[in-house]
Symmetry: C2
Subunit: 373 residues, 2 copies
């Protein structure tokens, strides 16, 4: 079977690029002297996770209980659920733990800690917990100097939970421009999370684990001194946002969407394709690549062509500079097959329930992925 046999739109996964990306991040973690715990929210695909574990990953990070349940069922026994835990989800967490999966949860408030220890006491269960640290002011977590930080640790320790340490995600790295900014953001992520660990140690908590990461900070950190574990996710596929950050090149992007030309508006220089926002997602990335960069069927970028507009099942391919290329209709007649590189692999991949794994023009496997909660 070849790519030419696939109905469109389809999610293509370049196996060689995937393998290279996995190896590169694992080598990076090794060079930095930390363990790697890949975030599987990007791929949600067991064959990908298998490859990450085989390459040396020491566990996985998940964004939903469904991911935890699916991968625990495959035998993954060390999982970090990296979204603040709420009381209503503790029973499901406990069920997975009682089945033998060490599923660690995170929280960042006294109220969440109290709810967790109350549940633990009521059910005779000792949860593994990390405290979330805010290192960039963008989302959840406690600042290293927040009075609540030692207070949360005390509630956990006195309530019989196992406080493994601290974790952070510096999403601000996605807004950086240039290597110097990225390196500085990586150092900020590292330094603030290590500082939080030191606050807890000074208060008498062992705090053995210090977990940080995002793909950009992982690749631009000059040192991870004091850190024990790196988390990153999108690196497995990479995407145009990562390319825009200077984190990867076009040839590292392993995910693309195969699409077919369905028509033209010649006077406007438009080529209509069957990959709209349902296939590409509504993610506009850094707003410089439209809904994606257009390549030929073999994956070679067609200079200057983007998906500049999208309806649910229609994409409009045209020149990025807005000029009308009247010759496009002749060069890309109805039925022509193209590939589109995605802005944001996490969002685009989630529009599909499977990946067509390809090596050149050959489709070598179909790997299922799951979605939802």
């Amino acid at each position: 079977m070849t790519i030419a046999d696939l109905p469109t739109p389809a999610a293509l996964l370049d196996a060689e690029r995937l393998n290279r990306n996995i190896a590169a991040m694992q080598a990076r973690a090794r060079a930095l002297g930390v363990r790697l715990r890949p975030h599987v929210k990007t791929t949600k695909c067991w064959p990908v996770v298998q490859r990450q574990l085989a390459a040396g990953a020491t566990g996985i990070t998940v964004s939903t209980l469904k991911e935890a349940e699916q991968f625990a069922a495959q035998g993954v026994s060390d999982i970090l659920y990296a979204v603040g835990i709420v009381p209503g989800k503790l029973a499901a967490v406990r069920a997975l733990r009682e089945q033998g999966c060490r599923l660690t949860v995170i929280l960042d408030s006294v109220e969440a800690a109290e709810a967790l220890v109350a549940h633990g006491r009521a059910h005779g269960h000792r949860f593994d917990v990390m405290i979330e640290i805010d290192t960039d002011g963008q989302r959840a977590g406690l600042a290293p100097d927040a009075p609540a930080l030692p207070a949360v640790a005390r509630v956990l320790a006195e309530g019989g939970a196992q406080l493994l340490g601290v974790m952070t995600h510096c999403g601000a790295s996605y807004g950086c421009r240039g290597e110097a900014e990225l390196a500085a953001m990586a150092e900020q992520e590292r330094a603030r999370c290590v500082a939080a660990a030191q606050v807890l140690r000074a208060a008498g908590h062992a705090c053995p684990e210090v977990s940080v990461g995002s793909t950009p900070t992982a690749l631009f950190a000059r040192s991870l001194h004091g850190v024990t574990e790196l988390r990153a996710g999108v690196y497995a596929f990479h995407d145009l946002v990562m390319r825009g950050l200077g984190v990867c090149g076009t040839d590292d992007i392993a995910l693309s969407v195969l699409t077919t030309v369905i028509g033209h508006q010649r006077d406007k220089g438009w080529v209509l394709v069957d990959a709209g926002w349902m296939a590409m997602s509504r993610d506009r990335g850094r707003d410089d690549c439209g809904y994606g960069v257009v390549c030929d069927e073999a994956g070679r970028p067609l200079p200057g062509l983007l998906v500049t507009g999208a309806n649910q099942e229609h994409g409009i391919v045209s020149r990025a500079d807005g000029s009308a290329d009247a010759g496009l209709a002749e060069r890309l007649p109805v039925g022509t097959r193209l590939r589109v590189l995605p802005n944001h692999a996490c969002a685009t991949a989630s529009q599909f329930d499977r990946y067509a794994v390809c090596a050149g023009a050959a489709v070598t496997a179909t790997w299922p992925r799951f979605n939802g909660w």
Copy 2:
């Protein structure tokens, strides 16, 4: 079972609003003297489609072959596939037709028409075809005065295809402001599509069907003289984009996302919830409602609160005016359950594989939906 028992995030569907929306659009079509062919790309859910057919719809419109296959398997025998057909999909279309479903395709070029008649000849099959008309310059279709319009009809007629008529979708209606603009856009959609039919009739083609529509033009058209069929989709659920257009009120929005408070950043006035862009979609609508309008668990809007930011599984709820409401953390503690109204129901619904159907606080059913191609 009640809403309080549902894990979050979850897609809630208010049954009473759904039924009301379905009845209102059917009554509208009746008043305009046209048949209604709902577009099922919004809901992709058989119980919803059943209700639309029971209310009087004379067939359905689909955006993918998968929708056609799924609903044909449920017994729907009159389906319009409203995305330009390409040669590679003709075999699948023919297979459905040979199983007894009258699946009509659309096209807008001589080359697509030639491919279709060649396939029909090769397999002894007579396809039903409509020609797509461009009435707003936004997507696919031929202008009513395009020389290619009679040329396409000739290729179809001479090639043995059944030319049912013309169809258009005036997506520009989504960019209108106010009733006068919407009514003018509806008239433009009607007049140009009817003009295209007249061109074909003058050239000797019967062209019995004239199919137009979008939810906004359907609701604001003052006359559909010359039109035989109306297509609309999002009206079944409605959403904040439709509300912004003046097409519906807040109390008409049948779809919402149930979510749980997972934490706070008190100094910023942020409430973090477990509905991020994976649950809400990346669709920013008209950019005035963030990622959605926040309601209490019962669905009553909380004045001034939006999902102002989103990561994959984190939403940031805060005041729309940007002010920090320090009291929010006390009013909405960890574990509080909220509902979020979506910008674009088509995009938000597609993030879920089922709807929890509710009547007040009671969950009365779970309806599956499908995604993908």
